[in-house]
């Protein structure tokens, strides 16, 4: 029984990691700019499509027809050679193999640009407007983003292979001195969890230990005073919006091998991540991370057959149920401060 519970706990970690990463960015935007960003799921989706784009670019190939060789069907053999491999040899092959992690390098600048452009172009004008209008405009932006992606990449999910070396499963049970082959965990999920831990740790360290982060935290606490001290807090908040988009984008990139991305990926995750943010407490970064993992793990437990036999359908609604209960019983969420959005 212990093994089963431990396995479900592990299974919850990677989904929880995705929730935590998205919710972290969402809370960052809310805490700094005070904007309820319904387009954040779309940023996750755009990140995932950076990976798709990068791979499509890497796998551009030349097709030469070789009349001296015949394919098994008797037609002249087509030799396909990826351009990258032709140019860079083995390094190119490795690059194609590791396209998903490698695409993080291009995702960071792209998402930073998208985030800053979004903030400067549109969201900037909505700080003083009611939250309902912020929701509406970002909801519209999310629709636009997903339709643009649909018209470029088509409506079907595009699977992204993980690097061949990272395909198998890790026998975690054996590592911990238990019976072998009972608790195995796919390597890529473990990598996703570690990756998210690094990113989350990085964001917290950035906010805690750099001068920039200190100023941003001060601005979150009292924007006006920081502004009066002669610091251009708006520019820093814009950069924080960019950073939040980068976090969402990276979360999307690394998630592609687990779930083939399609254009409505963002909408699917958006609702869940909002629920996560609310459960954690609006504006609380540790709350968002904790709630992300908590809900991911709860969802994983709820999908156990023993529990489903007891409460049919619980796996479908557990997250929403938790959110409703938390909102009704403790509206500030788990770690939220008093007075945030309690008008």
């Amino acid at each position: 029984m212990f093994e089963v519970i431990f396995l479900q706990f592990l299974n919850g970690l990677d989904k929880g990691a995705a929730y935590a990463l998205i919710a972290l960015g969402l809370t960052l935007v809310f805490g700094t700019l005070g904007v309820v960003n319904f387009a954040h799921g779309a940023l996750f989706m755009l990140g995932a499509f950076c990976a798709v784009m990068f791979r499509q670019f890497l796998t551009l190939e030349t097709v030469t027809i070789d009349p001296t060789q015949l394919s098994p069907w008797g037609a002249p053999l087509e030799i396909r050679e990826p351009l990258v491999q032709a140019w860079f040899g083995d390094f190119g092959a490795i690059l194609v193999n590791y396209s998903v992690p490698a695409s993080i390098l291009i995702t960071i600048p792209i998402m930073l640009l998208i985030g800053i452009a979004l903030e400067r172009g549109i969201i900037k004008h909505f700080y003083k407007r009611p939250h309902a209008e912020q929701i509406l405009v970002t909801f519209g932006l999310a629709i636009v983003a997903q339709e643009v992606i649909k018209s470029i990449f088509g409506p079907n999910p595009i699977p992204q292979p993980m690097p061949t070396d990272l395909r198998g499963a890790a026998d975690i049970g054996a590592w911990l001195g238990m019976q072998a082959n009972v608790i195995t965990y796919p390597l890529w999920r473990m990598i996703y969890f570690l990756f998210s831990a690094v990113v989350i740790g990085g964001v917290f360290a950035f906010l805690q230990f750099t001068t920039f982060g200190m100023v941003v935290r001060a601005g979150m606490a009292d924007r006006e005073t920081v502004g009066l001290l002669g610091i251009n807090i708006d520019r820093r908040f814009t950069i924080m919006f960019g950073l939040a988009s980068v976090v969402a984008g990276m979360a999307g990139v690394m998630y592609t091998p687990l779930l083939p991305p399609n254009y409505h990926l963002g909408m699917d995750f958006l609702v869940l991540s909002f629920v996560v943010v609310v459960v954690g407490g609006m504006g609380s970064l540790p709350g968002a991370v904790a709630a992300g993992f908590l809900l991911g793990i709860l969802q994983s437990f709820a999908s156990m057959t023993q529990i489903k036999a007891f409460f049919p359908g619980i796996d479908q609604i557990i997250i929403y149920l938790v959110a409703v209960i938390i909102l009704l019983v403790r509206p500030r969420g788990l770690l939220g401060r008093r007075g945030v959005m309690e008008s």
Partner: protein, 379 residues
Amino acid sequence: MANFMSRNDLFLFLGFTIVVLAMPIWLAPFGAGYPDLLQRFMIYGIFAVGFNILFGLTGYLSFGHAAFFGVGSYAAVWSFKLLTLDAIPAMIFAVVISGLFALIIGFLSLRRSGIYFSILTLAFAQMSYNLAYSVLTPITNGETGLQLTLSDARVLDAAMGQTLVGQPVPTLLGQQLSGYAGFYLCAGFLILSFFIAQRVSGSPFGMMLKSIKSNQTRMQFTGFNTRPYALSAFVISGMYAGLAGALLAVTDPLAGAERMQWTASGEVVLMTILGGVGTLVGPVIGAWLIKYFENILSALNDQILANFWSFLPEGAADLMVQVTGKFVGDGWFLTLGLVFVLVVVFLPGGVMEGVRRIAATLKRSGTPDSKSRQTQPAE
């Protein structure tokens, strides 16, 4: 009944009635004068009018109204299956059930306001949607959708000694509801809904709702308990949504869970905002515009576009076909999203505010303006 309606209200109501009833005539030149589409105009008009009673008057933004719409559809289809094929019991049943459902959800959700309210309604709607797809399959028939079959019980019909041959279809007092009969049924309900909404927003109750929107705290300090008012508005708009869902089931007796998905809730928000939130006619116009353009734009294809741009030189025409092709057909949602963002940014009051601004400009420039309240669905 001297003060029953002010003269302006009466004119507005009569004008609205005439415009709605004459739709088959004046929409024919725009390629929309056929009953199928007109029925949808009416149904989503009712949905949007009801949504506006909650969002427009009280300012509570619900992201879960599609749940009531879906519940109304399911309730109506079950009434067709179990009781009778007549539309009236089905609609009463649907309105009552969705009203009860809204009472429960509203009672819980209205304990919070602002974004928390939106998230709560969203969570409830997603729960209903997920359950309709999984555990509640015996009631909802899952992905297939709930359909009428010949072997349904139909207790009342059986008691009346009616037997049926062929595919069961809903009727109204024995009349078939295909074609324009269905449209006039829906139109009647839209006019009735509009009338009730007009009465509500002009009544003391409506004033209470508007004051909740402008300053709820002050209302509470002056000693009003605002929650029963907000809850009544929530239930009324839930019943409107249920009625719309039931009418959709009457015209097409097939209920599926996708009607409850949160993007469907988003659609009614779009309609209301696009038309003009808080106005009476605005949401209806928004619903018509969205349904009209959904129908027109998604029917366009590259062939039609090529004809349209054929006056340009060859290369430019191809380019324009390529570019505009992204915005029509399957891509029409992109157009909707862009228009929506532009409306929220530049014209938060929607079409109605646009009309008002134009009217104000014309008045200032000295020409007496006789622009009718009705905008035509062409831009």
